[in-house]
Amino acid sequence: MGQKAVFGIILLAAAVAFTGCGKSDSDSIKVGVIAELTGDVPAVGASCRNAAEMAVKELNDAGGIEIGGKKYPVRIYIEDNAGKADQSASSAQKLITQQRVLAIIGPNASRYAIPASEVAESAKTALITPWSTTPKTTLDAKTNAPKKYVFRACFTDPFQGRVVAKFVLENLKAKKAAVLYDVASEYNKGIAEIFKETFEKGGGRIVSFETYTTNDKDFSAQLTKIKKASPDVIFLPNYYSEVPLQIQQAKRLGISVPFIGSDSWGSAELVKLCGGDCEGYYFSTHYAADAATPATRKFIDGYKAKYGVVPDDVAALTYDSFGLLFQAVKTAGKTDRQAVRDALSRIPNYDGVTGKMQFQEGSGDPIKSAVILQIKDGKFVWFANANP
């Protein structure tokens, strides 16, 4: 025992470490997924995981992606970010450095997508977030220039805020609106501010602009203030787990005006949690399961057969994110991170289940349209289309 033994142990450790690295080089294309499997929005993470597994299974059953005359299967590595910003960043780090993935899909909620996108950007690895709509996700925090490696499969909040404001003014003919939003969450705050701006520009008046903080359960003080301002309509750009509480408490305080929401409402959980209190209200979102094209129909039926539920927008957007990535890999013709990123940034037209998408160099945001849905008999029903 002594120096020799210590040296031997170091050698052995080094050998183990190196074989560990060498072994991971195989014949498959590795894609990382970061999903909110636990934490505050687990339904989002579950939809993302389901759609990811389905997209990859369909592709592998068909033999995989063809590159240079050879077909490569795709392997996914799913990481749970536990609904935490720091864990989202460390999951991205782990996928990039340890699993050596070609690209990352996810996280979905903006507050987790932003930290993960910073990591992906600095590691020069493409990241597609299916559901993060806040502009900041694809923009550099310091220079406000577009990030080079971060993409999304959905529209952005400014677009959505304008769509909802226009809908309230033109379709509902409302002139006085109140807003209650989570001031601690990037997504809610961004969309609330754009709604306010567009609504006031369009001749409407915001009579009450109230805030709360993530995980609050009691909104009675804010709702009492809103009631005093007597609005025609109340805009709640908040997550599906909180909206039912807000609507129920508002009703108990004697508020009877309609509520409007954004794409964060679009989970089947919303109707379950609302227990009938959300009937008749509208929200803007990415796709309507009932007004589907044949390709979308095929996706919906396949998803239903596999998981027993109608896919929500997160599932559809995750599926599209994979579609975009597969097309980019095919176009790139090699499994090189940079080449995939370059192909992704110039996708001329992708016909996804959430509609047609187009990417132009210089922005990670696709050009696509939105829909307005209404909650009717506990189901999301198509109400109107909104084009960019």
């Binding site: 499997l37 934490g39 505050d40 359960k217 003080a221 804010q222 108990r252």
Partner: protein, 291 residues
């Protein structure tokens, strides 16, 4: 005017729930000089029991309430027997760490069963009365009255019954009480049962008022109830009630006049300021440490 009354009602509803939970902290502290940090999570268990009762067994209000109270009371007694009793002679800090551990165990056990937020179906019919601009619901009235009834019952038990007398005796001097023939272990179990049972009742009412429940719901509410207990003077039952209502009022007032982001820091700042001037809380009395 209506606006002020409406906000007062909101404050009473929130305050009565904080007060009920604060009672659990204060009773356990009074008798064992230990802070049961698992109490917030027992409150969460109360809400989940109500969810189970309402969703799977389709119970109505009273049976669901009884299930929540008895279930959490039983759990409280079991936790005391297995986790806290073996540490009764150990340093206080060990017991507090154990309590934190039990709390995290309860959160993650519930999380492992089901990570999704759950919806409690309305057990109280959805009646709302409106007078001019003032609205109040049957649920609101029930929460406030039920809390007051439970608090009066507790006050009576502690001050007028043999069990209550024994509790006060143990809290007064733990080493002499058994010499007077007081069954210390049984009284401690009873204290845990009552304290956590009230927490369970609060969990159910909170679950009905804010019907989306999740495994982490007890953390912040638990901390706030703990603050209420300290503000009122921990160990003092009437103090815990007063503390709960004060905190409820402060939170509603802050959210009514400022952005609600200020709510928690104002509430916690209040605690700091109050403790500088009254280190033993509003009703707490300084104990002379006998050497």
């Amino acid at each position: 005017m209506f606006y002020i009354i409406q906000q007062t009602l909101n404050a009473l509803q929130l305050g009565s729930i904080y007060a009920l939970i604060a009672l659990g902290y204060t009773m356990v502290y009074g008798i064992l000089t230990m802070i049961n940090f698992a109490h917030g999570d027992l409150f969460m268990v109360g809400a989940f029991l109500c969810f189970v009762a309402a969703t799977f067994f389709h119970m109505s209000f009273i049976p669901a309430l009884l299930l929540s109270i008895l279930g959490t009371a039983l759990l409280g007694v079991v936790i005391e027997k297995f986790a806290y009793k073996p540490l009764r002679q150990a340093p206080r800090v060990s017991a507090i760490i154990t309590a934190l551990g039990v709390g995290i165990f309860l959160e993650n056990f519930t999380l492992a069963l089901n990570p999704y937020p759950r919806f409690i179906p309305p057990l109280v019919c959805n009646l709302t009365w409106t007078f001019g601009e003032l609205s109040f619901s049957l649920l609101q009235v029930m929460i406030i009255t039920l809390s007051v009834i439970l608090m009066l019952l507790l006050d009576f038990t502690v001050r007028r019954t043999m069990v209550g007398m024994a509790m006060r005796a143990i809290s007064w001097d733990k080493s002499v009480a058994p010499l007077m023939g007081i069954p210390v272990n049984r009284i401690i179990s009873a204290t845990f049962a009552i304290g956590t049972g009230l927490g369970g009742a609060a969990g159910m009412m909170y679950g009905l008022a804010y019907p989306v429940i999740d495994p982490y719901m007890g953390i912040m509410v638990g901390w706030k109830a703990f603050i209420s207990a300290v503000v009122g003077g921990i160990g003092n039952i009437r103090g815990a009630m007063i503390g709960g209502f004060i905190l409820g009022a402060v939170e509603i007032l802050v959210a009514a006049f400022f952005p609600s982001t200020y709510r928690d820091f104002v509430a916690f700042a209040l605690l700091l300021v109050l403790l500088i001037f009254r280190p033993h809380g509003i009703l707490g009395k300084p104990h002379a440490q006998k050497v």
